[in-house]
């Protein structure tokens, strides 16, 4: 995966990667089949830079990857990838965890649900011998 390659600087022993994927949650309107993400692009990129700088200041990390898809992301596909590489694994865990928390609270990104409307559960009128419902 591309993120792993970008984190793969020599000398950095520990890589932690967080991958967030679209879950097929049930909602009032049906089951989520995709999420659509939008962003205030310039500001979101600025926040990514600020978060990366803060992670570097707080933790002894080398490379950092912050990546978020915009547009429609089908269920089970990744919407966000965050990773940090460091000489010591604790720093990579802490930085990655901080970055995903802060991405959710501080970066102008929004999801909206694209659902498959629930079909009512009903039997088809049957004629003749019983058949399994389609």
């Amino acid at each position: 995966m591309q993120a792993l390659k970008e984190l793969g600087a020599p000398g950095l022993g520990g890589i932690v990667l967080f991958v967030g994927r679209v879950r097929p949650d049930r909602t009032r309107l049906g089951r989520v089949r995709a999420l659509t993400y939008e962003s205030h692009r310039a500001l979101a990129l600025e926040e990514f830079r600020a978060l990366e700088a803060e992670a570097r200041e707080r933790y002894e990390v080398g490379r950092i990857v912050i990546w978020h898809r915009i547009g429609t992301v089908p269920v089970a596909e990744p919407s966000v990838v965050i990773g940090a590489a460091s000489a010591h694994r604790r720093a990579a865990f802490d930085a990655t965890s901080m970055l995903i928390e802060r991405l959710k609270s501080d970066v102008p990104l929004w999801k909206s649900e694209r659902v498959r409307p629930g079909r009512p559960l009903r039997r088809r009128p049957s004629r003749g011998p019983a058949r399994s419902a389609g």
Binding site: E38, S39, V80, P108, K111, S112
Partner: protein, 85 residues
């Protein structure tokens, strides 16, 4: 003389207005955030309920307080609560 304020709308704010951008006319010496928000709430009633939970930015910087000023030519953006990830 440009008296136009460019307003960017995202997520529920965009859905309430039906567009991702609207332009509003403001006095040439500027206006407060409070006045701009009142103007928008009047023109787009569905937006009113959304605005209470929003953050605002002006030219890519977060706006501190309702008395902050915006000026013609600025880019003013309305950010509902973030939900990335």
């Amino acid at each position: 003389m440009n008296r136009r304020l460019k307003v960017l709308l995202f997520a529920t704010a965009r859905e309430a207005v039906g567009r991702s951008r609207v332009d509003v006319d403001i006095p040439k010496n500027g206006s407060t955030v409070r006045q701009v928000v009142a103007l928008l709430a009047r023109d787009y009633p569905r937006l009113a309920g959304v605005l209470t939970s929003c953050r605002f930015t002006r030219n890519g910087e977060y706006v501190q307080g309702w008395s902050a000023r915006v000026r013609p030519g600025d880019e003013f953006a309305i950010h509902p609560p973030y939900s990335g990830g």
